[in-house]
Each structure stands twice: as C-alpha cells, then as structure tokens.
C-alpha cells in the first residue's frame, strides 16, 4: 500500500495561487461587424466566440488543437481558435461559420456539404467548412489526395470523409480559378 499525495490529476498546485487575471478589452471584426469585448486574457478565441458572443457554430472538440472542430478564418487564414487567445485577435478580422453565408444564400461550400451529405452529426461540420474555405484560398490542392491530406487536421468521427472530399471537389470544379491559381 502506497500513499501517493499530490494534485488531483492536472498540473501542480502552487503554494500561493496567482489571483485570476483582470479582464482586458479586445476589439476585432467578427463576420463583418466590429466588436469590442472585455475578456480575461486566459480566454481562448474559441470560448470568447461561444460564451461571450453566443456564436456557438464554432465547436469545441478537444480544446487541444488536435481535432480542428474549432477552425475559423482569421484574416482569411484557417486557424484553431482553441489555440488562440481572444486577446491575440486584437484588430483582426475573424470569420466563423455564421459569417460564411450571404443572407439567405449559402456559401457554395455549405451548399455542397448539404448536397453531398458531407456530415452526419454535424458537430465537426463548421470546422470542416471553414477549413475547406481556407484550403480553397490557399490554392494548394489539385487532386483528391491533396484535399485528403490538407483536410486531415479536421477530424470527423462520423467518418464522412469521402463525402467531404466530394463536396470540396464539387466547389473546386465550379471555381477553376481556385483550382489552377493560388500561391504555391
């Protein structure tokens, strides 16, 4: 019989805990609207979106940068919003799944995801679509294998991968510029 003693599972307890940090102001553009938030600096961009702005379309699948469910576009580039502090987004332009459609008209990727049945439970879907939007913008994908490789940061436990590839392929084929152009 041993008598381990120690912190409960995570990390090490400090002798004198640091006080919780004070909230900071952060201004950013989200889905075209200028927003100013007061958030503690330890707040991730993901939690700021979900809890402070009620933009729950961006999903939390691991909070570790391992699943891609929280993918959003920051200044047009796809990032994991769980690995980004909200205060790091000061002055940036953030696009979430809620900002992709123009009014009632869905983004072509959103249309294609519905048409190709590129999801089941729908939980990874906003991240998949934002990631696919970033992928199209990057312009590196030519083949289906490219799409598979470049979308592998977005896990889908329902296993909708073949349909995700088909949906992205459908949009790429309809936008020859995106397929042939782009920066290497």
């Amino acid at each position: 019989m041993s008598q381990p003693t120690g912190p409960a599972f995570q990390g090490h307890a400090r002798k004198q805990p640091a006080p919780p940090p004070d909230a900071m102001e952060v201004s950013l553009t989200i889905n075209g609207s200028r927003k100013t938030l007061r958030v503690a600096p330890w707040t991730s961009l993901l939690d700021a979106l979900r809890l402070h702005l009620d933009l729950t379309g961006t999903k939390k699948g691991c909070d570790h940068g391992q699943c891609g469910a929280c993918t959003v576009l920051v200044d047009g580039r796809r990032i994991n919003s769980c690995l980004t502090l909200a205060v790091m987004a000061e002055g940036r332009t953030v696009t979430t799944i809620e900002g992709l459609a123009s009014g009632d008209a869905l983004h072509p990727l959103q249309e294609a995801f519905v048409e190709q049945d590129a999801f089941q439970c729908g939980y990874c879907t906003p991240g998949q679509i934002c990631s696919a939007a970033g992928l199209l913008e990057e312009g590196h994908a030519r083949t289906d294998d490219d799409i598979r490789e470049l979308m592998s940061g977005n896990l889908c436990r329902c296993g909708a991968y073949p349909n995700i590839v088909a949906a992205i392929r459908q949009v790429m084929d309809a936008q020859p510029a995106a397929r042939d152009g782009g920066t290497p």
Partner: protein, 756 residues
C-alpha cells in the same frame, strides 16, 4: 388516445418519398452553425463546472483540500463526497435503460476510488476559465490499493455471466461434439485473437447545460441518445417529479453508444444547479472522455475444422471480456459463430473478468464488431489452408436458417451481397496466393469478410398534428445522433400522407414528446419509424372518413383503401379527377387541426418464429509498404442487405462512416493502459488515433434489394451498425494476402507487421 395499429399494416408500395435520396432536412442548420448542441444553450447567469478526476485507479480519498480554490473570488462551490447532499441508497434509483446487472457507478458518493479518472470533485465558478484554474488548486491525498487492470492477468478468474443486460442472449448450448470434430477434422485452424479497448470519442464532448427556473424546475440540455433516459435518471437520483424536469436535446454531436447511459457530467450539472439554485453547465474535457464506458478489451479463440471440400465440421469460439467490479457488462460476441455458417458441431463460450475500470459500454455494433472479425479471420485462414477462394468457402457453408435456433431468417439476401460486392470489386481477378499482387515495394492485398447484425424493434409512440394548410408536424422523443432521424421520419410521414417534404416537420429530443426508446442498435427507423407510420395511417384513415362523409363531395362513400394520398390531395383510385385537397376536407368539416397519437408494437408472434438480421459482404484492398509496414486501405466495397432503405443518401453515409470505423478498429484505435498506474495513457486525439481524411480512400456502398414483411411495417432493418461489422476482418485478411502474415491482434499497427 393511444391506438394500436391493426395488422396487417405493411407498407406495400411506398409513395413519393420513401426510398428517395433526400438531403438532410436539418442540413442547413448544421452547415450554418445554427444547430445547438448540449453545451451551446447559453443563458444569463450561467455558472460553469469543471470536474476533477482521480489520479489513482483504486483506493480511497483521505482528504481533499479545497481551501485555496474556494478562496478565489468567483468560485461558487466545490462539491465532493464530503459535502454532497443526500443521495439515494438503492441501486434501482441509479439504474438507466441501458444499465447491466449490478450496481451503477455513483459520482461523489463516498471516498472510494473504483477506477482511474473517476470524478472526485466539481468546481463551480462564474466562468469556465476560473473553474478550470480553481480545479488545479485542489489538493487530494489518496490511499492507493493494488489495482488490477490487465485482462490477461484477470482471465484466470473469468466467470460465466447470466442474462445480465437487456438484449443479451447467453451462448446457446453446444451442438454435436465440436472438440472431437476439431481433432478429427481433415483440415483445421486454431487462432487466438485480441482486440484493444476503444473509446467512442464522439466529436462533441459530453456536456450538460441545466437551466434552473425560479419554481425549482429544470430544463436539461444533455448529450444523450435518449431524452427520457436522462429525465428518468435525473428524477430518480435527485428525487424530482417528471413535471419538474424537461430534457431538450435537439442535436447530438455523435455518440456511437456513449450517450446510451447518463454520464457523470449530467449528475454533476444537476447536483450543482439544484444545490446552488442556478443554471450550470458541465462539459467534459477530451481526456475525461476516457473516464467512462468503452468497448471492452476482448481475448478470443476461434478453432474451425473442415473437410477437404470446405464443409465445416467444427466451430469453437471462446471469448473473455472485461467488465468492471460493480456491473456485469455483457454483449453478444460468440453467438454469431453458431449462426453464420451451417455446421453440426459447435461450441461457444463467453466469459467475463473483472477489472478495476469503469463499466464498459455499448459501442457501435457491440459484440458483433468484436466477435465477427475473429470468426471471419479464422475463415480466411481456413480458406488459405484449403487452397480455396475465401468467397467460395463462405458460399459452401451458407445457411438460410439460423442454426442456433433452427428458425428461418425473415429475409437474408447475403448471397446477393456476395455476388454484387464481388462483381463491383473485381474479386474474380484476385490471384489467391499471398504476396502475389506486388506493385514495386507496395504489397497489394485483397481480402473479404461477411458481417451480420440484428434487426430489432421496440415499442414507440408518435404524435401528429395536421393543420388545415396541409402542414404536418410529427414528433417522438427519440434522438438524432447523426444517422438522419429527422430526415427519415419526415420522409415516412410525408410518404404516408402524400405531402411534399417541406410541408412536414419532425420533432425529437424533447421529453414533452411521446415515448421513444433509446436510439441505438440500428432500431430507430424500425421502432420510431413504425410509430410515425402508425400515427400517419390513423390521420389518413380519419381524413378518408371525413371525405367520404361529405355528401356532396366527389369522394362520398369511398373507403381509405380506395384513395391515393398525393401532393396534398385525396384522390380516388378509380378516377383521379375525383379529388379533394386536405384543406378542402378539413374546411368542409370545420376543422382547423387534426391531431392523433399512435403506438407501434412489434409483430412479436411472427418475429418469434424467425431469425431477424442484416447482412453484409465486405471486400477490401490494402497496400502495405514492405519496408515501413504502413498500411493504406485503398478500396472497400461494402454490400449490405438491410431490407427497405428509407433514404439511400443518408443510409450510404452511415455505411461509409461505419467502414471508416472499421478501418480505425483494424489499424489505429487502441486505448493503451499503463498497467503500473492502471489508467489509459493515450487519452487525447493526439495519441488515440481515429482515422483522418488521408486514411480514407474509395469506399463503395451497395444496398441489395431485400423484401421483408416480418421485421416491421416498413420492412426496413436499419443500417447504423452493419457497416462496421466484418470490416476489420476484411482488412486483416487483405493484409494477410498482401504480406503472408496472419495477424490476429487488433489494431494491426506497423510494429506488428514488421515484427511478425
């Protein structure tokens, strides 16, 4: 006003909607971020809970020092076994609809630690970040006992369980003398198998948001496969009336079995909300998703004997599976081996061994996904020894009756699966010798296997409300964890009443709706779909009666079966120009709405006389890198016989996804226990590998025609599970064909390929 449908109520001819590849009716909500999951119902004043997990696998808590955490401004309360409110003593109060025999785990009940990562405290704070920070300041002192988490060590103490869980059938008694037949067989194989623990890991982590109302009632948003199961558990454990607890879970971010039982975040959130009289959310972390049920590790032996012509003369299948100390989790692992092939000498044995772990939990095709790969890999080995085409061996021993019971199958189009699957795959081009299909340094292998799953049905109730404008709302308290329940039910209702899809909406995930069973086991279309059909049949009958009663109307005196329902009209079969719209019929009868409710009850009598099941044939191609041992599954053809397919688009997606699960089981998924600590060491997505997009290539799904008027009025068997069963075997068999190495320990990782 619950009516039983009259038999026969079979769906002879679908109308315009059943069988159509309709896009998901909730698709727009899911691609725009509008679908809200359990952790996404925000409300003013919401407090956040964070769970502290045990660092040891077995023992007791001597002390929990919460002072530093409690001292932080904004920390509201820390719940532990020391300060919890009174909780029920009787086990039955903690039971849920999926509980096996035993004593369910009770969070925060006492100081005893039963398994690693057991929840031992809940911090509730004004913000999520603060609760997380405070949890790190809690200091726990344990007294650790020896733990046993190694199934191989525990195997010696294995015992034979009884009928310890709903839906479980112990193995049938031996028939013939399998051991003697094996010893005397002209050709035989005898293989040992193992399969690692797997965790469900739906993308949405388990979460519960409990909204506390001023009158003390609760609205619970829970990640669950059954809202009523959640409600019953909350009411029993916290001594609340069902009126005071409403569960609303319209969207569930995958579950695959993990939502069949209420998980401890639900307990924690309700405990905090009722004690603090505040709305509270508790969400597990990804590592904490490894703190509850899982697909149990299983050790198996399959031995087969055959004559030189391939006729099976002996089948022996033995399995030892883990369960917890407190419950007897059981699943049907070995029975399939007595059912799949014709054989006179069969011995099946299933045992459990207790470990210091959380009770295992049904995971996609529980039992079959575990047992069938062992059987089907052994069949492949037997074919290799016989020098026979593995497909021929299966056809040689094909059976149209279930040899375990002697009952005929209600339908079994497995031959068609073999034929169509083989043709699509190009199986006849296979050169049967191992290592004979190399391309450079890539060893190409083709393997096949069969799959089987039950076709089950439970009782369910559905309500319907038809408006004078021809809009129909149907509801039942089922869930949609991803299969497309919203869409399939909408199609069934629209089909029966002849309405366009956009005039019909289906509601689920709400305990205010009529009773539905847990969503699981591929039985939702069968159970809830039959209830939807029943209630729409009643509305149809009533509309027909109302139309027939209109003395100056064109449908006067016509019976329901003399009418067609299409495009919102009641139309006489005899002369399609005799017609009335639903609106006209209701207006003429001074009705604004027509409401009804109906219960569907399985055809117990005819079902008892038959074996009911779905079947599949899977063909897989792998490429194995000879130097690195890496495996790519480059092609899979899955041919499935599952009765009528309500929606071929969403059904195909389910099978695609299940094949992906099969790839994960075959090659990647493994929760590895550090036996010194008694806990899973790879408890996140970085270390627990599920297939990613780059792991998945061409998957082709075939649904073969299968007519069945016994399984349920819809003739639809469900496709949630069948797609995974057998896939790991097809891949393992393809790896054998590619490399000449017979690998029987799942997952087949590259170290096993290089080391064999």
């Amino acid at each position: 006003m619950i009516a039983k449908p009259t038999i026969p109520d079979l769906l002879d001819r679908p109308g315009s909607q059943i069988g159509k590849p309709v896009s998901r009716v909730d698709g727009r909500l899911k691609v725009t971020g509008g679908a809200r999951y359990a952790a996404e119902f925000n409300t003013p004043g919401l407090a956040h809970g964070y769970i502290v997990s045990s660092a040891i696998a077995r023992g007791r808590i001597l002390a929990i020092d919460t002072a530093k955490a409690l001292a932080l401004p904004g920390v509201l309360q820390i719940f532990t076994h020391d300060n919890r409110p009174s909780l029920p003593w009787f086990d039955r109060k903690w039971k849920d609809d999926d509980a096996p025999k035993g004593s369910p785990f009770r969070p925060l009940y006492d100081a005893t630690i039963h398994h690693a990562l057991q929840p031992i405290a809940l911090v509730v704070a004004e913000s999520f970040e603060l609760a997380r920070y405070a949890a790190r300041l809690i200091h726990v002192t344990y007294e650790a006992d020896e733990h046993r988490t190694d199934l191989r060590a525990a195997k010696a103490d294995a015992f034979t369980p009884g009928k310890d869980k709903g839906g479980f059938q112990p193995p049938p008694k031996p028939r013939g003398d399998a051991d003697t037949a094996l010893a005397e067989a002209e050709v035989s194989v005898d293989l040992n198998f193992s399969q690692a623990v797997e965790h469900h890991n739906p993308m949405e982590m388990h979460a519960s948001t409990v909204i506390y109302h001023n009158d003390g009632s609760l609205t619970v948003h829970d990640k669950t496969q059954g809202p009523i199961n959640t409600q019953t558990y909350v009411c029993n454990v916290f001594n609340l009336s069902t009126d005071a607890v409403r569960v609303i879970s319209p969207f569930v971010g995958g579950a695959f079995g993990s939502g069949l039982r209420p998980q401890h975040q639900l307990f924690m959130a309700v405990l905090a909300a009722t004690t603090l009289k505040r709305s509270v959310r508790v969400e597990l972390t990804r590592p904490q998703m490894f703190s509850f049920g899982h697909r149990p590790e299983t050790l198996q032996r399959v031995a087969l004997g055959a004559r030189k012509d391939g006729t099976l003369t002996a089948v022996i299948h033995e399995a030892v599976q883990e369960t917890s100390q407190n419950e007897n989790y059981v699943e049907v692992v070995v029975n399939w081996s007595g059912q799949q092939y014709r054989c006179d000498n069969v011995r099946l044995d299933y045992k459990l061994a207790r470990l210091d772990t959380h009770t295992p939990l049904d995971q996609r095709a529980p039992g079959a996904a575990t047992g069938i790969p062992a059987l089907e890999i052994a069949m492949d080995e037997l074919a290799a020894k016989l020098g026979m085409d593995p497909l021929e061996l299966r056809l040689k021993n094909y059976t149209d009756v279930d040899p375990n019971t002697g009952k005929p199958f209600s339908s079994k189009e497995l031959r068609a699966c073999f034929q169509q699957g083989a043709e699509r795959f190009g199986w006849h081009k296979r050169s049967h010798a191992p290592r004979s299909m190399r391309e450079g340094r890539q060893l190409v292998g083709w393997g096949m296997a069969t799959g089987v799953w039950d076709a089950m049905q439970g009782q369910a109730v559905a309500s319907a409300r038809l408006g004078i404008d021809g809009t129909l709302t149907v509801g039942s308290a089922t869930a949609d964890i991803g299969p497309g329940t919203y869409t399939a039910m909408t199609q069934i209702a629209a089909d029966i009443l002849g309405l366009p899809i956009d005039k019909v909406s289906f509601q689920l995930g709400d305990t205010n709706l009529p009773m539905a069973p847990l969503q699981g086991g591929s039985w939702t279309v069968s159970s809830v779909g039959s209830a939807v059909k029943a209630v729409c049949d009643r509305l149809r009958d009533r509309l027909a009666g109302l139309a027939a009663g209109l003395n100056d109307g064109p449908l006067k005196g016509l019976k329901a079966d003399e009418l067609i329902f299409a495009d919102g009209f009641l139309i006489a079969r005899a002369d399609p120009s005799w017609r009335l719209s639903i609106t006209e019929v209701m207006r003429a009868n001074d009705l604004l709405v027509l409401e009804d409710e109906a219960r569907s009850i399985p055809y117990y009598k005819s079902q008892m006389q038959h074996a009911l099941g779905t079947h599949s044939a899977i063909f897989a191609e792998v490429r194995v890198d000879e130097d690195l041992g890496t495996v790519q599954v480059t092609r899979v053809v899955s041919a499935v016989a599952a009765g009528r397919i309500i929606n071929p688009k969403t059904a195909r997606s389910q099978v695609l996804g299940a094949v992906v699960w099969g790839i994960g089981m075959a090659l990647e998924e493994e929760s590895m226990t550090d036996q010194r600590l008694g806990r899973f060491m790879n408890h996140d997505f970085g270390e627990y590998h599920i297939p990613v997009n780059a792991d998945v290539h061409d998957i082709d799904v075939i649904f073969v025609e299968e007519h069945d008027d016994i399984v349920n009025p819809l003739g639809a068997k469900g496709v949630g599970e069948i797609g995974i069963v057998g896939v790991p075997a097809a891949i393992a068999n393809a790896i054998y064909h590619a490399t000449g190495k017979r690998l029987c320990d799942l997952p087949i990782t590259l170290d096993k390929i290089l080391g064999a």
